[in-house]
């Protein structure tokens, strides 16, 4: 295991078909680092949900993934509209996604709950009108 690796991705906000490329790249890198299938899957799912959210709600953003000997930290930062009611947004089934997004298979109100479900720690810092930063950790 190598400690102190950091990967950084800029997520394009207007191309839904490419959403997930960054998560796919991280998944491959973690596999190559020899991390367990369980950890790799949890990181990939949590990051993928976040990446999709960025494209759907925030016109893209930046994702940084840091791998240390003890944990993987994902920081997803956007300058989108922010989340007015975080408690509501964390509720399974609650979604503000457009109908068009639902027809693509997302916007079922599972994104944030899934991110919490698959990680050991999750923190949401959000300011309406300025943006959202979500920090997630998966312990090794």
């Amino acid at each position: 295991m190598s400690g102190g690796l950091t990967f950084r991705y800029t997520i394009d906000g207007d191309d839904f078909t490419r959403a997930g490329e960054a998560s796919s790249s991280v998944k491959n890198k973690l596999k190559m680092l020899g991390l367990s299938a369980d950890v790799t899957r949890r990181v990939a799912i949590a990051m993928y949900e976040g990446e999709i959210n960025m494209v759907i709600h925030a016109d893209g953003g930046v994702i940084t993934v840091a791998v240390s000997d003890s944990e993987i930290t994902m920081v997803l930062a956007d300058t989108g509209p922010g989340i007015p009611d975080v408690e509501k947004a964390m509720r399974e089934g609650y979604s503000t996604a457009r109908e068009e997004v639902r027809s693509l298979g997302f916007g079922a109100g599972m994104g944030l709950p899934n991110m919490k479900r698959y990680t050991d720690e999750m923190q949401i810092d959000t300011v309406v009108g300025k943006g959202t930063t979500i920090t997630m950790k998966v312990r090794l």
Partner: protein, 114 residues
């Protein structure tokens, strides 16, 4: 049940991954909402869906799913197949509806992951 056996039971077209035909699968998840697949499908190695866009393949990839079965005659385009190829995910397509597809596979011993 192997992927080849599923293909025969469902009278499905093998669109990609015939070299994976001997892979043995046990747990299946079916949904059109990928958010639900990500929430509840993490134990499953087969995804049955009527949704047809590249995010279906991405979702399968994140969950280590080895085979996607498109139902209701849905046909993935070349880009989706290329993506599946790159990830080593077998792709089947059947004309059966989702309920029928699930029922047929259940009858042959496959189960949901819950």
């Amino acid at each position: 049940m192997t992927i080849r056996e599923m293909q025969k039971v469902l009278d499905a077209k093998f669109l990609y991954g015939e070299e994976l035909e001997d892979l043995d699968v046990e747990f299946v998840f079916s949904a059109d909402m990928m958010s639900d697949v990500l929430a509840y499908g993490s134990k499953c190695s087969v995804l049955i869906t009527g949704l047809c866009n590249p995010q279906v393949v991405r979702t399968a990839e994140m969950l280590d799913i080895v085979c996607i079965i498109f139902v209701r005659g849905k046909m993935p385009d070349e880009n989706m197949l290329a993506l599946a190829m790159g990830k080593g995910i077998a792709v089947l397509a059947t004309d059966h509806y989702m309920f029928t597809t699930c029922g047929m596979l259940y009858e042959h011993g496959l189960r949901g992951g819950a």
